[in-house]
C-alpha cells in the first residue's frame, strides 16, 4: 500500500461508486429466495430416539445445562426394557442451548445430531423446550466424526505373555496395567453408569474408576467391596458383562473395566486399611454351606451387617471353583488367599475340611444357627453317557482341573481330546497344553477340542478361544461325540464323532441332532469331558429335600431374596438360576441372599 496516494483526498473519487447503479444488487431476497445451508450447519437437534440409549453424556457435557433426561413415552414410545439403556431421552431447552455441538461430539451412539434448521420463532417462551426426534423432519447437519472426537475410542493395550512363552508355564498370562496405563484407561470412562446394568452385582463401576483416576485405590476398593467381595478375582476371571454393556462399544473399544479393577486391587497388599462400615453385632448366627464365591460373598456381607457367620467348607481351601477349578495361569492362588484373608479378617469363621452331611449334619445346622445358606455349587462333573466312558483314561474336567491345581498332577498323555466348547473346556485344553510342554517339551503332542456348537455359538468367551488357538489347540466345532474307540490293548485310540445337524431346536431349547452318516475319528489317548457340572444335595435329609422346590431347569427355586421354600434356608451361587453361571453372578446372588437373610433375621425378633 502506498500511503502517499491516500494523503490527499479527492472529491471526485466517490463518484466511482456510481457504477453500482447499474449492477445487480447482491441482496438475498429472503424469504423469496434462500441460500443453501452448509452441510455442517449447527441448528436445532435431531435425535434418533430408538438408537439413543439415554446414557446422559450429552447432559453431562452440556456447558449450558440445557439438557434434561426425560421419559419420552408420550411422544415417542421407546423400549423401556432394553438392556444397556436407560429409559430416558434428552430434552433440550433452547432457552439455554448455545449450539456448541459438544453433545453431538460426545454422543457414544451417534444418535444425536444437529440439523440444518435454525429458524424457530414463537411467542410462547415455554415452547422452546422439546425432545428432539427424527420425525420432526429436520435435515441432518452437523454430525460427529470418527477422526476428531473428544471420546477416547481406543482402549489401552494390555500386555500379555507371548503364546510361545506362556504355554510353557502356569504363570499368569496377563501382566496387569502399569500406573500410566491404568490412569489413561480410567480417564476414558465417561461415568455414565450404563455398565452397571450389565454387571449382575451392579457394582459401582463409575465411582471406582473415578477413584482409580484420582489415584485413590483404597477408595476404589472400598466401592468395589460394597457389592463384590472378591474384586481381585473378578478383576482376573470375570466374564465382564460390564464391558459388553459399555457405551464405547457403539463406536470403539469398551473401557477395560476388569483390568482396572485388577489394577486397583493389585496396588493394595491387603484390604486392611480400606474403610468398611460394619454394623453393631446382632448376636445372630448364620451357617453357610460351601466356601465358594457365593458363600464367601454372603458371609462377608452378613458380617458387615453385624451377624456372626460360619462357613463350612469340605475342601482344604475356601474358594470353591476359584480354588479348585480355575487354572493358575488365569488366577494365581495368592490372589485368592489375599481376598479370603480379608474376609476372615472381617470376622467370618471358615471351617475347612468340614463336610456337611458327614462331619456335621444339616439338621444340627438348622438347630444351632438362625439361618442357613446353601452355596455348595456345581462341584461334580457331568457325564455324557458315552459308550466307553467308564475307561480310566476318560476324566471329568472338574476332576482333572482339581488334580492339576490342588493335587499337583503333572503327568499327561501326548494326545488329548477335550469334549466341550465352554470356558471350562478351554481351561482344560490350555492346561493340557502347558502340561504337555512341561512333560514333553511340546514334541509330538496334540490337544483338540470337540464341541457341538459351531464357532458362532460356542459358549466360551472370545478371549479364551483366541488364547487357546494361539497356544496351538485344535478345534473341531460342530461335531458330537459318538463313542470312545479302544485299541487291542484296551487303550484309548480315539473318539468317534458325528456331524451336528443343529444344537437348538425350533423352540430354542438345547436338543442336538446329528447326521448319523457323517462320522470321523479323532485320534487321542486321553479324553477329558468338559460338558457341564452338577450339584450334590445328598447332605440334605430326605424329608427336607422333598420340601425344596426346583425350577424346570432343575435349579433350586428361590425368591428375590434367595430364600428357598424352606423358611430360614437360603440358597445361591450356581444352585439357583443365573443368567450365565459365572463367578460374578454367584457373588451377586450371595450378596442378595445376605440382604434376604438380614431381613429374615431382623424380622424374626
Amino acid at each position: 500500500m502506498n500511503i502517499k496516494e491516500y494523503e490527499n483526498g479527492s472529491f471526485l473519487k466517490p463518484l466511482a461508486s456510481i457504477k453500482y447503479l447499474f449492477k445487480k444488487p447482491h441482496t438475498l431476497r429472503y424469504p423469496y429466495e434462500e441460500k443453501p445451508v452448509p452441510d455442517r450447519f449447527r441448528g436445532l437437534h435431531i435425535n434418533d430416539v430408538d438408537k439413543c440409549i439415554g446414557c446422559g453424556n450429552c447432559r453431562d457435557i452440556c456447558p449450558c445445562a440445557a439438557i434434561t433426561m426425560v421419559d419420552p413415552s408420550d411422544i415417542h414410545p421407546i423400549d423401556k426394557n432394553k438392556v444397556g439403556a436407560n429409559p430416558v431421552r434428552p430434552k433440550i431447552d433452547y432457552g439455554r442451548c448455545s449450539f456448541c455441538a459438544l453433545c453431538v461430539e460426545m454422543c457414544p451412539t451417534g444418535s444425536l445430531k444437529m440439523s440444518k434448521d435454525l429458524i424457530y420463532v414463537s411467542p410462547d417462551a415455554d415452547s422452546f423446550n422439546w425432545v428432539p426426534l427424527v420425525e420432526q423432519g429436520r435435515e441432518e447437519g452437523y454430525t460427529q466424526s470418527d477422526e476428531i472426537t473428544p471420546l477416547m475410542l481406543e482402549a489401552e493395550k494390555m500386555e500379555e505373555l507371548e503364546p510361545d512363552v506362556r504355554k510353557k508355564t502356569f504363570e499368569e498370562i496377563v501382566k496387569g496395567f502399569t500406573r500410566e496405563q491404568a490412569l489413561k484407561e480410567a480417564m476414558r470412562c465417561l461415568g455414565c453408569g450404563i455398565c452397571m446394568q450389565g454387571c449382575p452385582a451392579h457394582m459401582k463401576i463409575p465411582e471406582y474408576i473415578q477413584a482409580i483416576f484420582d489415584e485413590d485405590n483404597k477408595r476404589s476398593v472400598k466401592y468395589m467391596l460394597e457389592d463384590n467381595v472378591l474384586p481381585g478375582i473378578c478383576g482376573r476371571i470375570c466374564t465382564h458383562r460390564c464391558q459388553d454393556a459399555c457405551v464405547y462399544n457403539y463406536r470403539g473399544e469398551p473401557v477395560l473395566i476388569m483390568w482396572l479393577k485388577r489394577y486397583a486391587t493389585d496396588q493394595l497388599e491387603s484390604y486392611k486399611d480400606v474403610e468398611i462400615e460394619k454394623m453393631p453385632p446382632t448376636g445372630k448366627k448364620v451357617a453357610i454351606i460351601g466356601g465358594g464365591p457365593s458363600g464367601l460373598s454372603c458371609a462377608y456381607h452378613l458380617t458387615t451387617m453385624g451377624h456372626s457367620v460360619t462357613i463350612f467348607e469340605k475342601g482344604q481351601r475356601a474358594g470353591g471353583a476359584l480354588a479348585n477349578g480355575i487354572p493358575m495361569y488365569r488366577l494365581p492362588i495368592y490372589e485368592l488367599d489375599k481376598e479370603i484373608k480379608h474376609i476372615e479378617d472381617m470376622g467370618v469363621e471358615i471351617r475347612l475340611n468340614t463336610e456337611v452331611g458327614k462331619d456335621v449334619s444339616f439338621e444340627e445346622l438348622l438347630e444351632n444357627y438362625d439361618a442357613v445358606y446353601i452355596g455348595v455349587g456345581l462341584s461334580f462333573g457331568r457325564y455324557i453317557k458315552l459308550k466307553g466312558e467308564e475307561h480310566p483314561d476318560v476324566i471329568q474336567a472338574i476332576k482333572f482341573l482339581r488334580q492339576v491345581k490342588v493335587e499337583g498332577r503333572r503327568e499327561i498323555a501326548r494326545r488329548v481330546i477335550v469334549i466341550g466348547g465352554g470356558n471350562v473346556a478351554m481351561d482344560v485344553a490350555r492346561t493340557v497344553v502347558r502340561l504337555q510342554q512341561m512333560a514333553y517339551g511340546g514334541e509330538g503332542t496334540m490337544v483338540q477340542t470337540v464341541s457341538l456348537e459351531d464357532w458362532d455359538i460356542m459358549p466360551a468367551s472370545k478371549e479364551e478361544i483366541d488364547g487357546a488357538l494361539e497356544e496351538g489347540v485344535i478345534f473341531n466345532p460342530g461335531w458330537g461325540p459318538n463313542q470312545v474307540l479302544l485299541d487291542e490293548n484296551g487303550k484309548i485310540r480315539g473318539l468317534e464323532v458325528k456331524k451336528v445337524k443343529y444344537v437348538f431346536d425350533e423352540n430354542h431349547r438345547f436338543n442336538p441332532a446329528f447326521y448319523e452318516d457323517q462320522k470321523k475319528v479323532l485320534e487321542g489317548d486321553y479324553i477329558v469331558e468338559a460338558v457341564g457340572q452338577m450339584y450334590d444335595l445328598s447332605f440334605i435329609p430326605k424329608e427336607l429335600l422333598d420340601k425344596l422346590e426346583f425350577t424346570p431347569r432343575r435349579k433350586i427355586k428361590v425368591d428375590e431374596y434367595g430364600e428357598t421354600t424352606i423358611p430360614g434356608v437360603f440358597a445361591g451361587g450356581d444352585l439357583v438360576e443365573t443368567s450365565r453361571g459365572d463367578a460374578i453372578s454367584a457373588i451377586a446372588n450371595g450378596h442378595r441372599a445376605a440382604i434376604g437373610i438380614d431381613r429374615y433375621l431382623r424380622s424374626k425378633k
Binding site: 441482496t27 429472503y30 436445532l44 424457530y120
Partner: protein, 170 residues
Amino acid sequence: MDRLTEEQAKTIANMLRKRSLWMIHYCTGCGAIELPPTMTSRYDMSRFGLAPFVTPRQSDILLVTGYVNIKTLRRIITVYEQMLDPKYVIGFGSCPINGGVYWDSYSVIKRLDRYIPVDLYIAGCMPRPEAVITAFRTLMDMIDQGKADGYKRYKRNLAYYKENQRKVLG
C-alpha cells in the same frame, strides 16, 4: 364517507402499523452482531418497511438481543417505558428465554418475561438473519391479527412486573 366502526379502524391501523415498524437501535447484547447484516445490503430488512431508529419515542420494536445484564435491564425498562404504544418486544436467542449459556452467571437475568412483556422469541445463539426476518414477518402477522399485545399486558399486570423489577434491581 361512512363512519368506520371501531373494529374496522383497528384493522386499518394494524395494517398500517405492521408496514412501518421501526426498531430501536439499542444493542443490548451480543445478538446485535447479526442485526447489521440484516439491516444492510445483504438481507436488507427495509424491504419490509423496517428501519433502525435512534430514539425510544419514535420506535415501535425493542429488540432485546441476547443476554440481559442487571445494569442493562434497568436501561431496557426505561427505554421500554419511554416507547409509545403500540410497542413490541422481540427476545433474541436463548438467553432471554432461560438464561442461555449464562445460566450460572450472577449478573445476567434468566427470564426476560418476568420484567417486561415479550411478544416473540427467536431460537438460536445467534439467530441467523433469516430467522430474524422470519421473526419480523411473524410479528407483522401477529400485529395484523391483534395478537401482539405485550404492551397491553404490561399495563394490565403492571404490579407484577414492577414487583419483579424491584426485586431484582433492588
